[in-house]
């Protein structure tokens, strides 16, 4: 029994030693401090500023009205009144409008052929042409949404006129035009904005990447300077390696709990992003997310030989991880190989889970898969890290060991 207690107290003491040593390493390294504290707080603020406006408003378009009639002019006025686009130029010819488009002064052209009003008068289908600037997805979306909403409105107007000509008016005409109306409800982000969609994912990614980068840099630096500096206290050499891993993890965890609270709980509220998740669900979810990220970073960190290699690997993976998380490109349409590949990274489940709890108001039960996967990752990467350290201790028995 005494032996048992002795084991526990010595274990705790060793963990505490490694913990303080790790904190010392973090706080004496300018680069790591920059990444942990400046990076994780500055990036969200920059992203918040860049994506401040949810949607694009008043995109400039040009119109070419060959029909010069009352219906086409009414269409143009209504188009100008939409929030999406502004009719900035009235051109006489299509080539004039094309020149404006080439000069990037407008992002769309609406063209009314000369038979536009004739066809409407004859009760046929009138056609108008829309040319969209495709250099950005959002330009296309705005021009197209603006034009189609006016079209739907105009269609109803014309249909009512035609029914009136046929002698059907009032409620009867309304019913005849839309016998089965539908209402659309846009859930979780009513404005359909770019900000509410991308920024939550970026916030979670910033946490993952700064932690990953910081730990990578620490491991790389230790290796670079490793010939002379002993990182692990001499007396821990022949003890269980888990003490080192737990001690280090606790140091990162302690630093990141307040940072996560700021980035993922406070900032969505400050920026006015969706935040309908329950706090207790969020907190329960952040724990395995942080643990898995820390364990993953330590595993990868063991292979980082040089400080700057870590930075390059991290930068390079940032963009890839955003896509793998399934926020931009739906998970249902990912090739199978990349889907399983994405399971390697805690960010995939972390971002998915965070968005679903925070923006979609899911409970822990609905993110069960992600939650379990993060715990599995934590355990697995923890074991791998222990194993790697063990091998290193064994290999460099007579030398200082850097982790």
């Amino acid at each position: 029994m005494k032996n048992f207690w002795h084991n526990i107290t010595s274990g705790l003491k060793d963990i505490y030693d490694v913990f303080t040593l790790e904190l010392y390493r973090i706080f004496t390294d300018g680069g790591v401090m920059l990444i942990f504290f400046v990076g994780s707080l500055l990036y969200p603020l920059i992203f918040g500023a860049i994506y401040k406006h949810e949607c694009i408003r008043n995109l400039p378009v040009a119109v070419v009205d060959d029909s010069q009639s009352a219906p086409s002019q009414r269409f143009i006025h209504e188009l100008d009144a939409t929030p999406e686009v502004n009719v900035n130029y009235n051109c006489n010819t299509l080539s004039e409008a094309e020149t404006l488009m080439r000069q990037r002064k407008v992002n769309g052209i609406v063209y009314f052929p000369n038979d536009y009003s004739d066809r409407l008068a004859k009760g046929e289908t009138a056609r108008l042409c829309l040319f969209c600037d495709m250099s950005s997805f959002l330009y296309y979306r705005s021009v197209f949404t603006g034009a189609s909403s006016v079209m739907l409105d105009e269609m109803k107007h014309i249909e009512l006129e035609r029914y009136a000509m046929a002698g059907v008016t009032g409620q009867d005409a309304e019913t005849a035009i839309t016998p089965v109306p539908y209402e659309d409800v846009k859930l979780f982000s009513p404005a359909g904005g770019f900000t509410s969609f991308l920024v939550p994912a970026l916030l979670a990614l910033v946490i993952h990447q700064t932690l990953f980068l910081g730990i990578g840099i620490l491991s790389g630096t230790a290796r670079e300077e490793g010939q002379t500096v002993a990182i692990v206290p001499e007396r821990l050499r022949n003890r269980s390696v888990y003490r080192v891993v737990i001690g280090r993890s606790l140091a990162y965890l302690m630093i990141y709990i307040p940072l996560v609270a700021i980035d993922l709980v406070l900032l969505p509220r400050v920026f006015g992003l969706p935040h309908i998740g329950r706090l207790d669900d969020l907190c329960l979810f952040f724990l395995p997310f942080l643990l898995a990220t820390i364990a993953f970073s330590m595993t990868v960190g063991s292979f980082v030989r040089q400080r700057d290699t870590g930075i390059i690997v991290c930068i390079f993976f940032s963009v890839v991880l955003l896509f793998l998380s399934g926020v931009v490109w739906p998970r249902s349409n990912m090739p199978l190989f990349w889907k399983y590949f994405s399971y390697l990274f805690p960010s995939t489940h972390g971002i998915q889970g965070f968005i679903r709890i925070n923006s979609l108001g899911a409970h822990l039960k609905q993110v069960q898969f992600e939650y379990q996967m993060l715990w599995v990752q934590s355990g697995l990467y923890f074991l791998i890290t222990c194993l790697l350290y063990r091998v290193k201790f064994f290999k460099y028995e007579d030398r200082a060991v850097c982790i």
Binding site: G30, G31, L34, G39, Y43, I50, H53, I56, R102, R104, L120, G123, E124, T125, A126, R127, L128, L130, F131, M134, S135, S136, F137, L138, Y140, F144, S148, M151, M155, I158, E159, R162, T175, A176, P179, V180, Y182, E183, D184, V185, K186, S189, F197, I311, I312, F316, S318, V319, G326, V328, W329, P330, S332, N333, M334, P335, Q352, S359, L360, Q366
Partner: protein, 390 residues
């Protein structure tokens, strides 16, 4: 010229000695090309999972289900009995949208009453939400049109008259240079060269500061005849060539193999790529000159490099950013590369239209020169220190 050549050869020797970094970066770039081209090979997501909440259970509701399932855009993966079930499935991200058909829909249609369908889409996932909404709302409109047509047929209207009644206006949309509305050209044409640029930036900062860290700057400068400009050009030229070459091959793959549209000259695009890589390297020299500490310089370069993607405006237009950030966007070379790409490839612009972007890229050489001057000063002060120590 001879000094420049000497410096160039010295760098080649250094690469031969430890090719690790260059191999690592090249492998990373190749990986991202393979990754992104295979990852989104569909171009536009198809068969997105959606659900139908069928409380009606009638002939009409079931036919609607089949018709939705038959569209290319979406796939009906489940039929639920209640709204809450569907909402939970959405929170589990099993579906991106659902159509709710309330009880009594069919009988109301037969009685000339107006039943209401409800369409719910998940807007927290922009692309999937928008696309599945678009398909479902088309179905919604078609349902009305189908009922309308049946009624009018019974009343004895001709097919032409019916079409005129149902669809008085039609939009004929022309999507310039991306007729499929594919997602790939939006993202890849700017992002992949962007990744190359960021790698070039990081490598430049690392290599230049490394000379000072290893205290080999004197040898480096003497190889270049004590001329900082020669020394920098000679040192960075191998990487300029290498990264530009990869970028051009990458563009060949995108515009050739993947059939992205390039209306203008491919040569102009390659020149823009060369200038872009040079501009990123010049920014690297500038940062290296500004911050003598290698670790810090690489960290700052990493932060600057990562911001390029957001600030270039290919995903979120710069005109929608706050005015201060619109001004700052000019100091990111990727922004100018993106503008050149859009002008040349999407609109087939001629030199008179896109020259200003190339000039902007050339302006970054000034930053490189300032960096060179600063580096020169560090080298001088280092050798003075060494003299004092002696």
């Amino acid at each position: 010229m001879k000094h420049l050549w000497n410096c160039f050869c010295r760098e080649l020797g250094l690469i031969k000695e430890s090719p690790r970094y260059l191999i690592l970066l090249t492998a990373g770039i190749l990986f991202s090309y393979v990754f992104f081209l295979t990852f989104m090979h569909e171009g536009q997501p198809e068969n997105l999972p959606i659900a139908v909440v069928d409380q009606d259970g009638s002939y009409l509701s079931r036919r609607l289900c089949h018709e939705i399932d038959a569209t290319q855009g979406v796939d009906v993966v489940a039929v639920y009995n209640s709204h809450s079930e569907a909402r939970e499935a959405m929170q589990r991200q099993e579906i991106f949208a659902f159509l709710e058909i309330p009880a009594g829909t069919y009988s109301e249609v037969l009685d000339f009453k107006t039943p209401h369908l409800a369409l719910y889409s998940n807007n927290a996932y922009l692309l999937a939400g928008t696309l599945s909404y678009k398909t479902l709302s088309t179905i919604g409109k078609l349902t009305s049109a189908a009922v309308q047509r049946e009624v009018m047929r019974k009343k004895g209207y001709s097919e032409d008259q019916i079409m005129g009644m149902i669809q008085p206006i039609e939009i004929d949309a022309h999507l310039i240079s991306n007729p499929w509305g594919s997602y790939l050209p939006y993202v890849l044409t700017t992002m992949l060269p962007g990744i190359i640029g960021v790698m070039a930036l990081l490598l430049t900062v690392y290599l230049v500061t490394n000379e000072y860290k290893l205290k080999t700057e004197k040898i480096w400068l003497s190889t270049a005849g004590d001329n900082m400009l020669n020394a920098l050009i000679g040192k960075l030229l191998p990487y300029t060539c290498w990264f530009t070459l990869i970028g051009i091959i990458g563009n060949m793959v995108m515009f050739g193999f993947s059939h992205f549209v390039c209306l203008g000259s491919f040569f102009a695009l390659s020149v823009a790529l060369l200038l872009f890589v040079m501009a990123m390297q010049a920014m690297g020299v500038f940062l290296a000159g500004l911050i003598p500490d290698q670790h810090l310089a690489v960290s700052v370069a990493a932060i600057y490099g990562m911001l390029s993607f957001s600030m270039s405006g290919f995903s979120y237009p710069v005109v929608s950013m706050p005015p201060a950030l619109q001004a700052i966007s000019y100091v990111f070379p990727l922004r100018h590369y993106y503008l050149t790409y859009a002008d040349v490839a999407m609109f087939g612009a001629t030199f008179t239209q896109y020259w200003s972007h190339l000039c902007w890229l050339l302006c970054f050489m000034m930053a490189g020169c300032i960096g060179g001057l600063l580096l020169n000063r560090w080298a001088k002060s280092n050798s003075d220190d060494a003299a004092i120590e002696c």
